[in-house]
Symmetry: C2
Subunit: 216 residues, 2 copies
Amino acid sequence: MNTFTEENYLKAIFHLSLQNEYASTNQIASSLNTKAASVTDMLKKLADKHLINYTKYQGVTLTPSGEKIAVDIIRKHRLWEYFLVEKLNFKWDEVHDVAEELEHISSKELINRLDEFMGYPKYDPHGDPIPDSNGLFKTHQLKPVSALAINENGIISGVRDHSPTYLQYLEKMHLTIGKKITIREINAYDHSLTIEVNDQKIHISREVANNLLIAI
Amino acid sequence: MNTFTEENYLKAIFHLSLQNEYASTNQIASSLNTKAASVTDMLKKLADKHLINYTKYQGVTLTPSGEKIAVDIIRKHRLWEYFLVEKLNFKWDEVHDVAEELEHISSKELINRLDEFMGYPKYDPHGDPIPDSNGLFKTHQLKPVSALAINENGIISGVRDHSPTYLQYLEKMHLTIGKKITIREINAYDHSLTIEVNDQKIHISREVANNLLIAI
DNA sequence: TTAAATTTTTAGACTAATCTAAATTTTTTA
DNA sequence: TAAAAAATTTAGATTAGTCTAAAAATTTAA
């Protein structure tokens, strides 16, 4: 079994590798709020355990066994988030920190029964796909709202920013997972948008549109 | 916030103090599967934090703030056990180890919502009382089945041994929480008993009867 | 009531994870 | 393409929790 800290490193490397194909020491340090020197130490340890591919100064990728552990943690994180929202009435902006703790509970039996209890959900409250017990999950194709043209429409299916402030803002604007939106106007100067949701026109900035994702 | 280890020490001291009024270094060591020297170190640390009353060589008791933390952990442990059995269909002999992990999840919000979700249960699957969010709980009066006389009856309300083997045995004999039993025969030689449950006579040893508790 | 047995504490060491400061390597840029 | 900047690693400490072995205190029992 691995420590919580090792699990957090593997998870961070997994997420960073999705964007960049490999993770650098500084990226890992900043995503874990730690220092580069601490990261180097841990990378050596994870490499000794054959969980990452590591060459000094060259960044790291996960080995298959490292990836398995990371995906397992992500499965647990997302299932717990679903549980918190669907069963305990948490808001989608309140679940992250609690799930960060719950994801380290080790029992496989627990997580599989929780999955069953909830009816094998496919997506968490933020639209992120939940890996099944074999670690398999669809990476559904998404694009930002800012990539849509006038009069195009789409279903809100994910977010690129998981911060409470952003999620609270979306909630207030009724821009939640599953909602259908249509682009009505695009401001040529600042790229802000007027969009239609629930038959109402609302105005959102480019920044907001960039972080809001639509199913392709 | 305290570490998992500190929480486990406080919980162990709480449980030992119920039986003995104070906890000794060796008792703590054996209940935590660690060595006396390690316990002494930790006792100093907990005393510095004013969570225990500690005088060298004299054993320890919890201070009010130490007890509050211990009761909080016990509340979480028992609520999670209830959840595992009632919602996720775990057996009563399968929940202990998972609850040992879950009890350290820190969110108060989580545990209070879980409590609400389950309808504020008063007892866990083994009959132990669940403290409420203020740390209050009834210590209901219980006595072992071995203290009953012939033809006396009672409702099974708790166990003194929480080991999986014992719980599995009780389950097999239908000696579960809430069942009504009547004493029919007491063997003068080995103090084993013939008791009636579900209109069936079964035979149990003195040891089994000693660890099975009846409401007074 | 003193010697033996038991319990507890101290001393000193080890591991995991972290840090700062300094050294080294890689990347950028002029 | 060499000097400057940035990124990364090494060196040496620190903290939490643990251990073994030895010393000290308490309890038991002859």
